[in-house]
Symmetry: C2
Subunit: 247 residues, 2 copies
């Protein structure tokens, strides 16, 4: 058997964008880890998923869970995202990301920001996020493979899933205020974005994330991701980008 | 940290039954394997799931896929099943089963039966099941862990997920005919079973599997599992069981 199956397609910008959208619109993921004291047996479970401002996937996990104990012993893990949707489960695009997990120090400034973004994405996590046995892990993508449906396989680099921009920190500092402003003073914008760019219906959409690479939209159980054509390069570009999308 | 987290509950028959239902009603699963030539890195992807007549999970996979190449090199794998459903993804029960995979010989009698059951469960698989690069693997459960929602964790043995009965082969031999008979001559039975025992709605349900331990019910994208109180011990008990359920 060839190392590169014949079904593998050339990874282009469209494939990279689809992969980012699959990852960044996922509420939960299947995570594979190595079971401790098993001689290397794989173990898969389900976790809630968030995304840090630089695109790094983030999970919030209990120290009592098997996957957390596993990640503490071996940081290598694999994330599966992509909704199953209607019809054949294998007809829908899904993404496997090979990652290295690192626990987020509770006293770090990045912890506060990750916590805030995560709760906006998963409001019910507020009930347990501050429990002493819960912790965030950042999962740095090393490489990925996407299956866009039968016969459409792509290989990606970890870098393809990252957000790179000099504006990341400035945007993070203003994110919460900008979201409040948009959801209260331009309350129809999120639903319009969802309809125009994410094939989503309904008028109850809210913005739950703003970063250099795009917008997270939430409505009940649904989460959608709008990706800009290119990352914002300064915080001043945010307003222009949001106005332009509201055509 | 204690080896047994305090959230672990005693595994009783109710938990075992719930675990069987989660596994046997799954259309697809996340499967974790060890990535070949990676030094033991876990890798997770999505597969269609079937169940053999003895309860063993079955997958149909292409030799071109990463998980198949992985299983050919290392038979250890982990299966995650359990629908995400509405609301918090972690509020829904899910099951992790640690398994050893074994390829099913295409010329074996068990292959013909597995193929027939799999296609009844996944009719669209008929399009590719006979492609030369596709193969079935049986995944023998070694042990399992179930998370029934927050604070409800259970450990199970592989045996808890198996079907044990002297009637397995006799029932398998008559399965196809019995299903045809039920779906044509008692066409309302499947919808009645789905409503009475699986909290399911609609009148379009069909039986797609009959084994010593219960009934598989399908309607469009939905798959439900009805488990008998105890496995049938002879093929003669099938009719009685189905009549009794149709109260």
């Amino acid at each position: 058997m060839a190392d590169k199956p014949s079904v593998l397609r050339e990874t282009d910008d469209e494939a990279r964008k689809l992969a980012r959208i699959i990852l960044r619109s996922a509420r939960s993921a299947a995570i594979a880890v190595i079971e401790p004291n098993s001689g290397g047996f794989p173990f898969v479970s389900r976790v809630l998923l968030g995304i840090d401002t630089d695109g790094t996937p983030v999970i919030l996990v209990s120290a009592l869970s098997a996957h957390t104990q596993a990640l503490s012993a071996d940081q290598r893990c694999s994330l599966l995202t992509g909704e199953i949707g209607k019809g054949d489960p294998l007809a829908h695009a899904r993404l496997t990301v090979q990652c290295e997990a690192e626990k987020v120090d509770r006293d770090s400034t990045s912890h506060a920001l990750i916590r805030e973004r995560f709760i906006r994405r998963h409001p019910k996590a507020q009930l347990y996020v501050d429990f002493p046995d819960f912790a965030f892990f950042r999962l740095t993508p090393l490489k990925a493979s996407m299956n866009g449906g039968f016969g459409k396989a792509y290989v990606l680099e970890g870098e393809d899933l990252m957000i790179r921009s000099p504006a990341i920190d400035d945007l993070a500092a203003m994110e919460s205020g900008a979201i409040d402003h948009m959801n209260s003073d331009h309350s129809d914008a999120a639903s319009k974005y969802a309809e125009l760019y994410c094939k989503a219906k309904g008028t109850g959409w809210k913005i739950c994330g703003l970063d250099a690479s795009g917008v997270d939209l939430a409505f009940g159980d649904q989460l959608k991701r709008l990706e800009y054509e290119a990352p914002l390069q300064s915080k001043g570009e945010l307003r222009t980008a949001l106005v332009k999308l509201y055509r």
